[in-house]
Structures are given as C-alpha cells and as structure tokens.
Symmetry: C2
C-alpha cells in the first residue's frame, strides 16, 4: 500500500481546482433536479423541480473530482488522455464537465454556454426527448456506455493499444469491480506493450456501496486489497479522505507520482531497452458516496451510504423540507462564484483547463481516432482456391489475414483477438508475421509469443470483446475469432455495442467506427468430437434481435466465398458482422470470380448444380457450409435416381437477403425472391442454425407455406460429423426423403428410393456405432462433374 | 506462500496411492486410444486403436492425482466430500476413477469391473453412441459439465451452502482461471458461512498451458500469484514438482494441513463463537501438463507443454512409431500390477478407498442431495390482492417468498440470489426473516447484512447463477431475481444448464433437480428512466432455442397471477422457468381464484373485458403485464367509441401454449387454439418482447395470416413509460388504429376515431416533451366497471 503525502498544490491551485469541482457538482445536481431557475437567482420553487427525478448522484462527485485533477495533469504536461468511466451512472458528471470545457456547446449549439443553455442542459437530462441518464454515445468524449457494468477496463486497454502517446484513465466502480468481465480484465496488463502501446491508469473508486449493499472490495481491508491489486500486477497508490482540501492535495501529489512513473516505464522500455513486464501504477480512491450531498434526509444518513446512489431528495417537488434541503445543497457550491452574469463558467473556474483537442471531452481518440487510417486490404482474389479443390476455409483466410497484417504494419491499426483459438481456428498464418502479445514470462519451449505481438489471446471472451470494442471505438480495425458455441458468453456485450452503433447513426457529429467482425468457426456441425457443450448456433438468433441497420450475418459456403465476405466486412463501418465458417477440409464450390459475384448478390441459384431449366419441381436451398454440402449431395442423389425431377439449387450467403426489403436494407424485393424460390413449389431449406430463424425471416413471403426448413434441433453430442446431421435430420438422405414427401405425385413414383434412404440412415447408424467412423461413401462423396 | 514439507506417507501408503494413480492414468489413456486389447495382454495392433482420436490428456493426470489424494483424506477422516473439476476436458480421468471405485459398473452394469467392461469403457469414450469426452451428466459424481469454462468455483460454493458437513474440493484449471466468471467467483468466500455452510477447497492447478498458449497465472511468478490469492482472501499452500514420489509426499502433507485448518475454522465458528471472515486455505498445484505422458513426439517436447493438451500421439493408428510410443506409454503404468486376471482392479490398488456413498463418484450430494426435502410452500392464495386494486406485483410476491423462507427454515434448503437487486426488485420482505449473506466487514449504517443470511447478493450475474446452479444440482431450491436486460449476461450459462437438464432426462439413475427459476423484473417497458442500456427483452428468445422439454416462459399480467405462477415454478423440477413481471404499481385484473384458474389454463378469453358473445370481429390478445394494460385500455376505447364492434380479449400467461402440441408439451391443440383466436378474424397481439417470437410460435396455426403482433422493436431510451409504448407502436391508441386498419369495413366507419388516435399520439408527444410526464388521462386510466 503506497500513500503519497505532499503539498503539491499552491493555495491558488487548490482554490481553482476546488471551484471547478464545485461547478461540476453544481451542474450535476442541477441536471438531476431542475427544469427552471438554473442559477438559483431566485428562491427555488417546486415547479422548477422536475416531476420525475431520475438520475444517479452517488458516483458523480468522485468522477467530477477525478476529472478536475486529470485536467490539471493534462494542462501541465500536454498529456494526451481520455477518460473511461466504469460507473456509467455518473452521466450528469461527464455532461457537466463537457459543458464546462465548452465541448458540449460546440457539439450541441442549443446547449449554449450561458444561462439559457444551462437551463436546457438541466432540463434535457433524463427527460423525454433529451439525453440518457448514463454516460452514452451522446456524451462528448465517451467511448463507454454506462448501464451494464464490467467493461470499462477492457475498453480502456483496447483504446490504449497502438496509441503510444495516450494515457487512458479508467475509473472502476467498486460495484462494477465485482463483475466477472471486470475481474478478468485486470490481467490485461500482461498484454500491454510499453513500447508500442499507450498506458492505462486504473483508478479503483471505493465509494463503498452499490444500490443497496456495501461493495466487497470496500470491506476486505486495505491489506487484502493491496495484496489483490499487487497480485493483479499493479503498484497501488491509495488516496482516501472526506475533507476536500486534504483530498485535493493527496490526489494531486499522487497523480504527479503516478504520471511520472508511467512516463518512466515508457522511457525505460522505449529508449533504455528495458524489457520485462512493468508493474504499472494505479490509484485507489476512497471517498464517500454522494460526497458533498445531503448528509441526512428524513433522519437517515445519506452521504457516505447506499442511500446516495440515485436521487437523495426524492420528494423535492412535493415536500417543502426536501425542497429547502435541495436549495441549501446547491447553494453550498456557491454558484454565484462559479458562473458569470451570463451564466457562462467564470473565467477563474475554467481558464486553467486544457484547450482544444486535449480536453477529455474533445479528445479525437473518442470519436474516430486521432489519426485514423483506412485498412489496406490486399486483393483477396489472389488467395483463392480452385473450384473442386478441398480446402480448410479458415486456413485460406489466415493467409490473407497474414498479408492484411503486413499491409497495415506501418499504421499499427489492425489486431486479431480470440480466446486461445487463433491456431485451433486455423488462422495461424498470421503468426508468420507477428506474435501473440505477451508480457508475462516466456519459456524456451514457447512459440510465437512476444511483447510486440498483434494477435491478442486470453481465455476470456469478455476481455477479447472488450479489447476489440475499445480498439474499434478509437478508430482502428480488427477481427474476433471464436468458437461458435462460446460466443454466447458475450451476448450481453454485443447487445450494448449494437446499441452504441444504433445511436451514433443518429448523431451527425459522431464518426462511423469500423465494424465489429466475428469469425465464428469450430461451429455446431463440427463439434462432434467435443459434444453437446460445444454445440450451439444460437448467436445468429441473438444478434438478429438487434436493429436491422446494424447487423449482418454471412454464411459463406466455401473458402473463396469466405475470403470475399471477410474483405467486405473489414471494409465496412458501423456494423456488427457475424461470419460463420468451417475450419475442416471441405470442397470449394465456386471459382474466385463466381464466389465474389455470389457474395455480392448475397444469394443465388446455382445453375451448375441444378437441372430445373427455369421451372423447378422443387427448390433445394442451403445456408452454411455443411448444409451446402448436404444439399449438393442430396441433389446428386436426386439427379441420379430421379433424372426427370427438376431440381433447383439455391445458396444463401447473406442471411439478411431473405427478409422483406421493408425489414432490412439487404432484403430482397418480393419479385426477386419469388423468382428464385418460386411461390408454389416446395422449398427444402437446409440451414446452419435453428430452423425457425428461416421461418421468421420469410414468413411474409408468398412461398412461405411451401417452405420446409431443416437445421439444428438440439440433437447430438459426441459422435461423428455425419451422425450429427443424421441426428438432426439434415443429412442428404433425409433431404431426399423430404423432397419425395413434398413434391406432389412423387411419393408413389419414388417409394423405392425413399425406402433406400431410410435404409441408408439405418445402415449409417449401425456402421458408425461399430466403427466410430462415417460410411466411406459419405466421407468420400464428391460433386460429380456432370 | 506456504509450503508444507513432510514425510506424511509411509512407503506402503505412497505405493498404494501411486498404484491407484497409475491405474487411473492407464484407464484414461485407454479411453482416449483403444477399442481393443484393453489390458495389453498382447502386443498393441493398429486396428485396436480408434480411427478418430478424440479426447484430452493434458489435464487428466493432475485430476487423477488429486482424486487419489482426496480419497485418502476421505478414507482417513470419513469426510463427506465432492469433487468439482473445472478442467472439464479431464473427462476420461473422472470416468476412470468412477470405474475404479466400482460406481461406474453399479451405474452402468454393461461396463462391468472386468476385462469385458474395461474394453467397453475404453470403446465408448468419445465414440458415437458412447459418452462425451468431457465430464458430463453421464459421469457419476459430477455436478459440473466440462466444456465451457469458468463456472467451477461458483458451482462449488453453491453446493457447499447449507451443507455444513460437506467439503467441496474444486479444481480450477489455470486456463479457466482467466475467464471472467471464474475470476469473479473467488470472492464467494465473503458469502460462505463457516457455521451453517460447508467448506470449499479451491485447488488451482497450474499445468501451465491452454490449447496453444501458456496461462497467465503460471507466468506471473509465485510472489505475485501469492499476493493475488491472498487478496482473494485465501491462505494459499503451494505444491509443486515433477517427481511423483516427491509430489505424493508434499501433496499428502499439504492436504492434511489444509483439512485440519478447515476443521479448525469450522470448530472455532461453531463451538468457540469465533466470528469474522476466516482466511480459508487453498492449494496451488504446479505439475506438468500431460504428466507421465510422452516426453517427446516427432522430435518436439510434449509433456509439460501445450502439445499435451489433447491427444499427444495423433497418428497412433497409422504411424508405427506413434503406435510403439503409445504402447510404451501405457505399459509404463505396469497394468499387470494394477488389474487382476479378470481385469478387475487389483485389491491392493483399491482396497484402501472410501466405501459406499463416501466415494466421490457415488456421493449423493451430486445426485439430488444427501437429504433432500421438498419445498414447503404456504398457500399462495392467502397473499393475493383484490381485483381492481393497484399492487406492485413483485412486492406482493415478496410477502409470499418471506413466508416460503420461514416455512423451510428448518431444512435450510431455499435461497434467493440476485445482483444487488432484491430490494430494487421489491422483494425486500424476505429481509424481514433473514439477512443478506455477508462475511466481510459490517458498518453500523448497514442494514440486513449478516453472516447467516439466506439472500445472496453480489454484483455478478455469473456468480449468482453459478451459486444457484450448484445449489439446485445438489437438491435444494431457489430463485434468481434479475433485471431483464442484464440477464443476457448469463445466456451462455443457462445454455449449459439447459443441456444438463436435457441430458439427465434420459439418464434413469439421475434424480430430477429443482428447476432453475428466473424472476425477470425491472423489465423493458419500465426502464424508461435508465434508457437503452437497460432495455432488452431478448432473454425469452434466447431460452426458446433450448429443447422444449426443459423450457417454460410465463408472463403473468398482475400480482395474483404472478403468485400462482411462482408457486407452480417453485414446485417443479428439471425446468428452466422464466417469469417476467413488473415491479411498478399496476392494476390487479383477476381475483385469486380466477388468477389460479387462468394460470392453470395458461391462456384464455377474458369474457369480462370483451363483448364478442362468441363471435368476435377482432381479437385483442396480450402477453405481459404492460401489454395487457394497453390491450384493455384499447378495448375500453373501442367499446366506448365503436360499441357495435365485437371485441374478444385474450390473455396469455404461458407462452408455450401458443405452440403446436407437437412442438411443446404445453402446446394448445389446434382446435382449441382456433376456437380462442379464430381462424379468420384479425388478431392484434400485444407482446412483451420482440414481436417475431409470436410469429415463430404460431406460424403453423390456421389463423396465422390474420395475426398482427406489436412488441418491442428496439425503440426508446430515457423517456416515460407511456412514451416507450408510443415509440414502439404498442400504445392503446395505436392498437385501436391497428384494429380499425384490419377489421374489414371499419376503415371508413371509424375514420374519425382513427384520426383522433393519431392526434392523441401527437398530443402525447408534445405533452411529454414539455412536462416530462405522461398525459394524465393515460396515467389515470382505470378499467371501467361496465
């Protein structure tokens, strides 16, 4: 436990920091309560108090205090610094600071730097048509939404990567610190390169309480807490107190020491050749929850307790006592000293602040990046495989990603993240040109580990996701490769990121951010060896609930289409792109030019596979690599055994094409959909995931009553690849049976073939259980060159 | 860092522990590789090796070592102990131990304790029709599925709660330790009561590697690791080595010390009145990954590296060199000493093991509990509210839950968990009879905290879920109350739990486990104050992808129906029950008897609200409390303004009733569905969540083309409750417009009313943006007593 004692600040400096802090606190309280009389130039009247009091005071004074002291550091050192606040409930604080810095009025001119603007600032907060009560995309200077807790520190690390001049100050609430994602992300310091990356300054804010309970870390004692933070690899500095003057001095002295240490670590690594993992400093700030607010309300203690969490005076509009307390509280900040006659911040309060884009609320890292570069993408067509050849799709992609890595080396703006699966997912080629980032110990036996690596692997999907989000939100590019089943671990994180993307589309001052790209592999149909725990294709369903304007789902059927889709996704901005692709050896169906065209269309008829001559008896459709293979194998069976049957083969890469055009921008117009799928012929659709998703996407199409979908129905565990298909009735034999059952008149004519399919399935079951392998004819089937 | 040195074991004891360990390792390797020649009584031939080698060796020898040493402790002390293994990849190890203990053959008589059984044991592993490669429900003695990592420690704590005589030994893999859920769960020790609960012994197994990378905790050095574990509140004992004889002595000596310490802590708390949080001991075991396996394969080091993770000799069937190495490896365990002439374990290998239900593989805690009690449920009818009265549904439920807590006090078998939201979710009445569990510091200002509390609150949904799963899987009962939006944090955990439930239905020896009950409140329609980050009703969609046989979703429209549904859920077993209910003041629609009947039916026509006399012009249906209110308000408008229009009101509590009977056991037969919803009249359906779910459930119903669903379409942020409805077009005015637009012939007749609805919506928008409140007529609307 380190404590820095010192009288760093002159009386004058203390006074101006304190004035700034009071101003920020005043403006925060005003936002929570007032819809009139913002400067309290007249006595406060009930009707000037909002009818619904919605907001969170508890964490706000602490966030404001840190804002003031970080501004001092920035102004003194010209430090490039952004501020990530885990306790997102502190929305009014961050907005108040942005207004004091002038950024808010620059961003939203209606909220001007005068009494009129201040009035609007107050009224809009947590008000219909106004702004959210949490830190949000609407808040200038933010990359981190408040609300769902746990992602601040991984976001901070993501922002710091490849920004060597940047310090990311990250306030971690002691409530948030109890979450799993936050607890895991402390170890991010084993991945941060003191040479090529910036620094993260974690500030654990112990205000002691959550909504209704004390926090764990505030109640384990300083010794145990010191041990914990030391164990996380940090050198913790403690600042505690409830007297503002004392805390100002302690915090300023500590900040000076901590920023000196950060600079010294970076200098040593960059210029003195010091290697090995540094013990980065961090701050533990222990101040009362709701500090400077009402000490007691209705006879119960409030300041320093959980009762300060939201709105300490809940009846300020209706209860004269509460109203008087509110006015007394707000006047305790002495607004008459803080704002000039126009209502603008008084010069003495703000003239010492950092200027221009060094203001935390205006730092360009938080809005598209300080010096963003488009990703250079080598022409993916050069990496393709010949049609007919067998390839591992993700391994082919890996070759291209390796060269993407190289092409962007000069700008250091591309990263691949994943939970220990880059090689398992067969993207290992990237390790030919970079390492896996690693600052912890390296043994001689280790491979591809290095302090400057651009591949980030930790066995925490949460941390991978948080790193990548922070990296993207500061204007860089990346790819998250993950086992399909386990990506559900970040369901909730992708929800929140999608909300961010949805919101910034409507904020003209927010720059688009590179898309969040998922490569889901080791997917449900090829987890026969790992069994049920590894089988779940539901992430697609999950993201499909997000706003259509931000979500894209691609199911490339082979290596070449995967390349084309990946190129498209890495070029895009403001989307969540989900790509599902296999890593096992599989046929390549389309030459590269055809693949690119097919992906551009999103779906299409594969004339070369069908024999319908424009008028099919049945449509066999597929979305996904394994379903495509089965549909083609079924088509082969049908064409050999029922040569008169006219089969059309349709392949879907872009799942959104199935929706009506009113539902999704990629939606296919009804006329085109009807032309491809017909309106009156049976459609047997083999789909990668849960079958009802296809019904959901198509239920308004004319031909929907004829649609029969096969997909994953939660059957299967440890078995063989083909057995997975049989268990879920999506195997080629069952697809043939489906066709026979659904094409009018075929049942009698094809009765023998149907029985043969039933027998084949039985034969398979017997064979697989005795040998542990799939039938040779299944394993060895190839598309016949007709 | 504590190290216990000592020669605890006699030569004889060492020999028998080592022999047991060798036997378990031999059987583990046999499972991974062999399908013949199990005892190696003849030279190993290629065709005796499985064609597909699927399994994980790396973690297995460590798990087996611990099993042996824990068995020694159990045998010596009669200790009730279960074994939770985080590195679930060690499936073959746990199966091997269960077979050596005899449990496997008792459970699966085909897998007998002889050479025939051993052969079957080997062949079935990771084989079609056999058993999964991970620890799974099929594994006797397990409550923790391997596969998705991170939940072992919270499961262990859940199992230990209210089992004062039990020790749960929990092996945490160093890979798993990187995950968020695991990292958070270390702090569970602040919630474990040394008086009323059992103990958890965490054993951090540092074998150093994941799939392709070293692990973080293995590379931060012993000092930093000691600090970390001390910071987590533990007293860590280190055992490290790669010489079996040495490690046997160190581990045995350490185990003795550690179990003595656990006993001393419990004695002090139970009999000496010692209070305060104990520093529970734990073990750090550092042994090589794949210990005793091949040291080198194809010139590359394997033992002690990531290459030992899965199958170290990948070509044993096809490569003579690999085959020879495999045979050498297996013979190195000296099977001829370990098994008798029949292939049964030799007496000396197993005669010292614990017997009966003290065997870890047979411990009844892992299969329904050692002394399970049905939950006593006071008659919920006594807690109801009169129809017409306003009530906060969850607060009413809280009163009943309080008495459930009291009624089961004697058996200590009911817990409520939640992330700091029990009071926010208005279930605070339970705190009248119990505390919130808390072993950390307590300040005078704190309320309802206590060491013996039965309400468990930590700001980690993962930890809450893990605790509850562990508690349920050992035969006890509970409820998880959570904000609706944030329950997505545990999407992945509920996936895995649902798979467990799905599997045990097909294992006749597994006893049913009490259902996992979610109460989702603070739901999407009442998060207007917290905004977008808190708005997401998609958890219902998520669980709907699980097997129909394990999932139930209930949307009680008021307090009385909530009571009835909660009673039903707490009585049930083997389900995941999701209840969505509001916490805000809302009308009570049904008297208790009607409520109970309505819930028993799952859905029904509300005759009292409609005027259709058996032949409606339109059906207005609702699922969810807020949708029900809006549908009734719309009905009121329609009946007042269009008295000739015959409106039927349908309310849905049990969402599964909407599905066809072939899809779900609760599905309504088509004839009943058609009778209620009609086949040819427009149905306007107001639904709590994403509207397409209703389409998915009903697309096969005859009347589906007439169905028009309103629900949440991702609109809204910080605003008012009614504005949320307007933004999503589910408000009463829009529902009236929907009726007018869809009932044939009504468009012209009701044109004026329709325009009035449009104007009302506009009036609302203006009013809410100027006042911050909803229109009085909306806020004050009550169902007219017609």
């Amino acid at each position: 436990m380190h404590v820095v004692d010192g009288q760093t600040l002159s009386a004058d400096e203390t006074a101006r920091i304190d004035a700034y802090w009071r101003a920020a606190n005043y403006l925060s309280v005003g936002q929570i309560y007032l819809m009139g009389n913002p400067l309290l130039r007249e006595p406060l009247a009930p009707e000037q108090v909002k009818p619904r009091l919605l907001g969170h005071w508890g964490t706000t004074p602490g966030l404001n205090l840190l804002y003031a002291h970080l501004s001092r550091i920035i102004a003194a050192r010209g430090q490039d610094l952004i501020y990530v606040t885990g306790p997102g409930h502190g929305g009014p604080g961050l907005v108040a600071n942005a207004w004091l810095e002038g950024t808010y009025s620059e961003t939203y001119p209606r909220i001007s730097a005068d009494v009129m603007g201040m009035g609007r600032l107050f009224t809009q907060f947590s008000f219909p048509g106004g702004i959210p009560s949490h830190v949000a995309p609407e808040t200038p200077g933010s990359i981190h939404e408040g609300g769902e807790l746990g992602y601040s520190l991984s976001h901070a690390y993501g922002a710091a990567l490849d920004n060597p001049d940047l310090v990311v100050a990250c306030v971690i609430g002691d409530g948030e610190a109890e979450t799993g994602p936050l607890a895991a992300s402390w170890h991010s310091n084993k991945f941060l390169d003191p040479v090529g990356d910036g620094a993260v300054l974690p500030i654990l804010h112990l205000n002691g309480y959550k909504i209704a309970n004390p926090t764990v870390l505030a109640r384990i004692g300083d010794d145990e807490l010191t041990a914990l933070l030391t164990g996380y690899g940090h050198k913790p500095y403690f600042v505690q107190g409830d007297d503002p003057a004392t805390v100002h001095q302690l915090l300023a002295a500590t900040m000076d020491v901590v920023f000196d240490e950060i600079a010294a670590i970076q200098y040593a690594a960059r210029f003195d050749g010091v290697t090995g993992r540094p013990r980065w400093p961090m701050i533990v700030l222990r101040t009362p929850k709701g500090w400077t607010g009402p000490k007691e309300v209705d006879g119960l203690p409030v300041e320093g307790t959980w009762r300060a969490h939201q709105v300490p005076l809940s009846a300020a509009r209706d209860d004269a006592g509460h109203l008087a307390l509110l006015e007394e509280w707000m006047r305790s900040y002495r607004p008459e000293e803080l704002f000039d006659r126009n209502g603008a911040p008084a010069a003495a309060v703000v003239d010492w602040l950092p200027r221009g884009d060094l203001r935390m609320s205006a730092n360009p890292h938080t809005n598209g990046g300080r010096s963003p570069h488009e990703l250079e993408l080598p022409d993916f067509r050069g990496y393709g495989v010949k049609a007919g050849e067998t390839a591992e799709a993700t391994r082919v992609l890996g070759g291209w990603l390796r060269d993407v890595m190289t092409a962007n080396d000069a700008h250091s703006n591309f990263r691949v993240v994943g939970p220990d699966e880059t090689e398992s997912n067969r993207l290992g080629a990237v390790l030919e040109v970079t390492d896996k980032a690693w600052q912890a110990g390296i043994d001689p036996v280790d491979q591809h580990l290095g302090p400057h690596g651009r591949v980030m692997e930790i066995l925490s999907e949460h941390t991978c996701q948080g790193w990548l989000e922070g990296y993207l939100l500061t204007g860089r590019h990346g790819l998250f490769s993950c086992y399909e089943a386990f990506v559900h671990i970040v369901d909730s994180m992708v929800n929140q990121h999608a909300k961010w993307l949805r919101t910034i589309r409507h904020l003209d001052w927010r720059k688009p951010v590179p898309s969040l790209n998922y490569l889901l592999t080791s997917h449900v149909w090829r987890q026969d060896h790992n069994g049920a725990s590894h089988q779940d294709p539901g992430f697609i369903d999950h993201v499909m609930n997000k706003k259509a304007e931000v979500v894209r789902v691609y199911l490339p059927p082979d290596a070449n289409t995967l390349l084309s889709v990946a190129d498209h996704c890495l070029r895009s901005r403001n989307y969540v792109n989900v790509i599902v692709a296999g890593k096992q050896p599989a046929p390549t169906w389309l030459d590269m030019d055809d693949a690119a065209l097919h992906c551009a269309r999103g779906l299409g008829i594969w004339d070369w596979a069908g024999n319908d001559a424009g008028d099919p008896d049945v449509v066999l459709a597929a979305a996904g690599d394994v379903p495509t293979l089965e549909v083609l194998a079924a088509t082969d069976l049908l064409r050999r055994h029922l040569p008169d049957l006219k089969v059309r083969v349709v392949n879907v890469v872009d799942l959104m094409r199935l929706q009506p055009v009113v539902e999704h921008p990629h939606g296919l117009p009804d006329a085109e959909f009807d032309a491809i799928f017909t309106t009156d012929r049976p459609v047997i659709f083999a789909y990668h995931g849960y079958p009802w998703l296809i019904h959901r996407l198509t239920y308004r199409r004319a031909g929907h009553p004829n649609l029969h979908v096969r997909g994953f129905k939660e059957e299967g565990t440890t078995t063989t690849p083909f057995d997975m298909l049989v268990l879920n009735d999506m195997d080629r034999f069952h697809l043939v049976m489906d066709v026979i059952d659904r094409v009018p008149g075929l049942a009698r004519r094809a009765a023998v073939l149907r029985q043969r399919m039933v027998d084949k399935r039985a034969e398979h079951r017997t064979y697989v259980r005795s040998t542990g392998e799939d039938l040779p004819e299944v394993r060895e089937w190839i598309w016949p060159t007709v």
